[in-house]
């Protein structure tokens, strides 16, 4: 509800630059409050890196550098549970989500970032489920084929609904969906298919409605899906990235589902898909379908590992950072699997600290 209110008011609070949240091993207690982390059992983030002493020191230094570079106004924005929120108590203010009144003091009840919108003060939790906004690009998995609609799982509190009428028809003609179309829904999307769509609106009961009317939306095949925390994917102009030099499609879903796969031309997908799906049902063993060529697969894996590294370090996942990480790994001739080792994590943190300090210097 709070999210809706903010969206409705049309305010977009400038979020702080990415704050690193991560786990150290060996019981080192990081000094800055930014490095305190809520108990985190998420599969991606729960990976503790075994760092040697020098690596730990280097990582600490990189994060301190990043912290000092982040916007001053937000330097004390992050809070953990039971931290007092700095508020001017003389002004009237509204207590929003994640806050509570304890002994006359405003105290945070979740770990997150303090956001202020006019008089509303609330704490945006980081490890929350995805909070959708209208127009977001999301990637979801079909869990159910229901009457005239598909239900997709998108890491939201409810399953999102993609109506049959929100999909383009195979023949491209705009017409009413007949009963035959309903019966043929499975030939378009089946259970467990990965689908890319856009948030259309919220229904009265709070659930989400999606639409996939454009050519660029639709079923995703020939690739892998990566699941990360939603807060790491910021809203940007472009969520679909076609990496020409690799021939790879990269879709950054705002719900934290990231798709990396072979490039597919934006096509009048439905016609070809129907023909393909008939093929699929007969050649179910998949022997005839060629596998992804090795070089493209290597690039896909490299990009996937780059995203995994960025998630562990807690950096925002956007195209520039991903490409820089990939270039760093290829320039240092690091093996794809070694990208998940501690040394590369430290290198990426240092690289990001360097990059940010250069950009802030340039701004000044």
């Amino acid at each position: 509800m709070g999210g809706n209110l903010i969206a409705a008011l049309g305010f977009r609070v400038s979020s702080s630059s990415s704050l690193p949240f991560f786990c150290f091993t060996g019981g080192v207690t990081p000094k800055s409050s930014l490095c305190r982390v809520a108990d985190n059992k998420d599969k991606m983030r729960g990976l503790k890196l075994p760092l040697s002493q020098t690596q730990r020191v280097r990582l600490q230094r990189a994060f301190e550098k990043l912290q000092s570079l982040s916007a001053k106004a937000n330097s004390d924005a992050s809070v953990t549970v039971a931290d007092a929120i700095p508020v001017n108590y003389e002004d009237a203010f509204l207590k929003g989500y994640g806050t509570t009144d304890l002994n006359g003091e405003l105290v945070a009840t979740v770990c997150g970032v303090v956001e202020r919108v006019n008089k509303l003060v609330y704490v945006r939790a980081l490890r929350a489920r995805y909070k959708p906004e209208v127009g977001d690009v999301v990637v979801g998995r079909v869990v159910e084929v229901a009457q005239k609609r598909w239900r997709l799982e998108i890491n939201f509190s409810q399953d999102a609904v993609l109506m049959l009428s929100s999909m383009n028809m195979p023949d491209g003609i705009q017409r009413r969906r007949t009963a035959l179309d309903e019966l043929n829904m499975r030939s378009i999307f089946e259970e467990n298919d990965i689908v890319c769509a856009e948030v259309r609106n919220f229904q009265h009961d709070g659930s989400l409605q999606l639409q996939a009317r454009s050519q660029k939306y639709g079923k995703l095949e020939k690739g892998q899906l990566l699941i990360i925390d939603p807060y790491l994917v910021r809203k940007s102009k472009q969520h679909f990235h076609h990496l020409e030099q690799f021939g790879i499609d990269l879709i950054l879903g705002r719900n934290g589902y990231i798709w990396i796969g072979e490039h597919v031309e934006a096509r009048d997908s439905m016609v070809i898909d129907q023909a393909k799906s008939i093929d699929q049902s007969t050649v179910v063993e998949g022997i005839n379908r060629a596998y992804t060529p090795l070089e493209m697969r290597q690039n896909i894996c490299r990009i996937a590992n780059a995203i995994r590294v960025l998630t562990i370090l807690g950096f925002n996942v956007d195209l520039n950072l991903i490409m820089e990480t990939v270039e760093l790994s290829s320039s240092l001739k690091i093996d794809i699997h070694d990208m998940l080792g501690s040394e590369f994590h430290v290198l990426v943190a240092e690289m990001e600290a360097e990059r940010r300090s250069l950009t802030t210097k340039r701004k000044r």
Partner: protein, 287 residues
């Protein structure tokens, strides 16, 4: 377990066929193994092993008991595995029982040797205190906290680490005990005896997907498997146990090939595991 679309399954199978899996590993590469010892202070020995996102804990508790009449010179060892509901929603209530029993039996077969106790990874004769009367009962418990494939390998590694971490208290027996009575025993609080764990085997699970085998499958890759063979190999290169899962039949030549592959992989795994356990013990002593 979340389902996979046809496209994703095809991608995984293609990766395995081309020796480049989803996270960049080769078909015979393990995920990074992280070992922590001494995680349960009340137990005599404990360890936590993380293999990628698979997370398991093993604990060893020793109690004084009576040896069985058939084997008066051997102690008793029991291995039991529990799958916690935090690992997967289907483990809630009694849902994880089938998997737990399967894992327990496989581990018992690999680590405890035959009925007579011959060929066991852990020597039961070292557990006896007074022959025929008093012996140590060792209870080894495994707990699966997070499941992302390859539970058996992780559990075997955890048990090995826990046993290296185990200190059995030294027992003084009152010298003048008659043959019928239970002798008085004095359990020392200070001195502990360590186990010799160099003989404990590790388990290498080979998962067959299509025509290729992979080592250390994630749960996505396991959903594509036709069959899996878990082979327990010790330091000398001897096979201590063999378990096959999955309904698809295998040609005998494939099984022999898998055994030789497992033997080859186990050498690196044993060395890696031993160094990780040593590092974990060292860091535990520091803290």
């Amino acid at each position: 377990m979340v389902g996979l679309s046809v496209g994703e399954k095809h991608f995984i199978q293609g990766g395995i066929a081309q020796d480049l899996r989803s996270d960049g590993r080769k078909t015979l590469t393990y995920r990074p193994i992280y070992v922590e010892t001494g995680v349960i202070p009340q137990a005599h020995g404990s360890a936590r092993v993380r293999l990628g996102a698979t997370d398991v804990i093993a604990s060893v508790k020793a109690e004084l008991g009576k040896p069985s009449a058939l084997q008066p010179d051997k102690g008793n060892i029991a291995i039991y595995v529990d799958c916690s509901p935090t690992a997967a929603p289907m483990f809630e209530g009694r849902g994880g029982e089938e998997l737990s029993t399967e894992l327990s039996v496989a581990l018992q077969r690999c680590l405890l040797g035959g009925k007579s106790g011959a060929g066991a990874g852990i020597d039961p004769t070292s557990l006896v205190v007074v022959e025929g009367k008093v012996c140590w009962d060792l209870y080894i418990d495994g707990l699966v906290i997070s499941s992302d494939g390859n539970l058996l390998d992780a559990l075997a590694a955890a048990i090995k680490a826990a046993l290296s971490n185990t200190g059995i208290p030294k027992v003084d027996v009152a010298a003048d005990a008659t043959s019928d009575e239970q002798p008085e025993v004095n359990i020392s609080d200070e001195e502990f005896l360590q186990f010799d764990t160099s003989g404990i085997p590790v388990i290498v699970t080979l998962t067959k997907v299509g025509r290729h085998y992979i080592v250390d499958a994630t749960s996505e890759e396991e959903s594509q498997m036709s069959s899996a063979v878990s082979i327990s190999v010790n330091r000398k290169g001897h096979i201590c146990g063999l378990t096959k899962r999955g309904g698809v039949g295998l040609d005998p030549s494939i099984i022999l090939d898998m055994i030789s592959v497992a033997k080859h992989v186990s050498e690196q795994l044993i060395n890696k595991l031993d160094s990780e356990i040593a590092a974990a013990e060292a860091s535990e002593e520091e803290s």
